[in-house]
């Protein structure tokens, strides 16, 4: 790009100067005449020529022209320009930043569930706002994940706050009353508590019941005659005895953080992940924090914590406790049925191939009742069978 400079050449013999400029072949774009000289716009390369050949003239560079003038002004006002650019960036950042996420619902449990999900999708305080389309996708995902809990969900951006408005789904938990059923024991045990909601309890506290015994009957009888049939409901808590055998390894790998951390940047595309800096940590735990995203590309701040793994060995007592913990967890698999462990006794323990093998006796309180449907015998069925029976006898 040609660089033209605005130069003032002091002289009273202006035409003579122009003749001389013409002679040396200077390219002059704009000439204006001043009281004591001529102001010209001349190519920087020609200015060197003028300085070389027109030694007797006094030259004064007044200004730059065109793009160079703009650049010069920027240089002079660099502080202002930097402040404006910084201000604009700050404005853009603040304009796109979420300061607070408000979940509007009175149920704290539901609020926590939604908060967790929003965290998963990057809607957290001090994160960048998302587009309408992305919020719609997040809404759809959260609603899909909690079909039974959320009726309606809306995300509104108001200034720097994000408001998440939720309507809880209320499911009327009416039990099916069609058909008739008994509550029968699915395990053997000693009954400790009976709670009957529907039907007639056939067992009392301290009764020993076997698997398959009817605990609460759906047949409502009066004087040995079935007056009504219902689907029995209620719970029967019983002491159930278990003899459990389990094995637990004595050796384990202990992972510890050394305290050495490194930060890295990770770019995640829909198909792959790219780590910007080379990782200098061999074994590490990685935590990712979403910084911002551009379309489907996401940029994460990656915290790498160095770890060391050491092979360790449990003491026998420690391994026993771990094994018991494992058994307890297994027994609590069905939290609706399980109540509490009231007794546990290690019957036998032995170490085989670096494993602790134990036999444990456990007494557990749990709801042993399960529903079992039955069909009601109609009166015509009864009379038919009676008639058939009479016929058979006569035959």
């Amino acid at each position: 790009m040609k660089r033209f400079l605005k130069v003032k050449i002091k002289t009273l013999k202006k035409t003579e100067l122009l003749m001389k400029l013409n002679k040396i072949g200077a390219n002059i774009r704009d000439i204006s005449y001043d009281r004591d000289g001529v102001i010209i716009e001349v190519l920087s390369s020609d200015l060197k020529k003028i300085k070389k050949y027109l030694l007797s003239y006094k030259l004064e560079i007044l200004d730059e022209t065109g793009v160079y003038k703009v650049l010069k002004n920027i240089r002079i006002n660099s502080l202002t320009v930097v402040a404006i650019i910084f201000g604009l960036i700050l404005f853009l950042i603040l304009n796109n930043l979420t300061i607070k996420v408000n979940i509007v619902h009175q149920d704290s449990e539901l609020r926590e569930i939604i908060e967790e999900d929003l965290k998963k999708y990057g809607v957290v305080p001090l994160s960048f706002k998302k587009s309408y389309q992305e919020y719609e996708e997040i809404i759809a995902k959260i609603k899909e994940a909690h079909k039974d809990k959320i009726e309606w969900l809306e995300i509104d951006v108001e200034g720097m706050d994000v408001y998440v408005r939720v309507e809880e789904r209320i499911i009327n938990d009416y039990q099916e009353t069609t058909g008739f059923c008994h509550i029968v024991a699915n395990k053997s045990g000693i009954v400790t508590r009976v709670l009957t909601q529907k039907g007639v309890a056939l067992v009392t506290i301290n009764d020993f019941v076997n698997k398959g015994d009817i605990l609460i009957s759906g047949e409502v009888k009066l004087n040995e005659e079935v007056k009504n049939d219902v689907c029995a409901a209620g719970e029967v808590i019983a002491e159930v005895w278990y003899k459990v055998k389990t094995s637990y390894p004595l050796e384990y790998v202990d992972i510890k953080e050394t305290g050495k951390t490194r930060f890295n940047l990770m770019v995640k595309s829909p198909n792959a992940e790219y780590v910007i800096l080379k990782s200098r940590v061999d074994k590490k735990l990685v935590q990712n924090k979403l910084l911002f995203h551009v379309g489907k590309w996401e940029v994460y701040l990656q915290k790498e914590s160095e770890i060391v793994s050491v092979n360790k060995r449990y003491g026998e007592e420690e391994a026993l406790n771990k094994a018991l913990e494992k058994i307890r967890e297994k027994l609590m698999i069905d939290p609706e049925k399980f109540r509490e462990i009231i007794k546990e006794k290690v019957l036998q323990k032995s170490v085989n191939n670096d494993n602790l093998d134990i036999d444990v006796f456990m007494v557990v309180l749990e709801d042993i009742g399960v529903k079992k449907n039955y069909t009601k015998e109609t009166e015509s069925d009864t009379s038919d069978s009676k008639n058939n029976g009479d016929n058979n006898t006569s035959d």
Binding site: T15, L18, N22, N27, I28, D30, I31, Y33
Partner: protein, 77 residues
């Protein structure tokens, strides 16, 4: 640039554009005389004499010149 290209394509030796109080000469060879009343330019085969009042050179490059002022007379000698 455009003028150069046009000149090259049309193979013109020179051209002179005249507007109100402005004269643009392309492909002049030399500036012979320059005063506020008279400007003389040497072109390939002749001398161009411009007479007027308050004549000034507004722009001047190696091959072209722009003259402004009250132009009374343009002569080809």
């Amino acid at each position: 640039m455009v003028k150069n290209l046009e000149n090259f394509l049309k193979d013109q030796d020179y051209y002179i554009d005249m507007y109100k109080n402005t004269l643009h000469v392309f492909n002049y060879e030399d500036l012979i005389n320059l005063t506020d009343k008279e400007i003389k330019l040497k072109l390939k085969d002749f001398t161009l004499e411009i007479k007027g009042e308050n004549l000034i050179v507004k722009a001047m490059e190696a091959r072209e010149i722009l003259i402004k002022g009250k132009i009374f007379e343009v002569k080809f000698n």
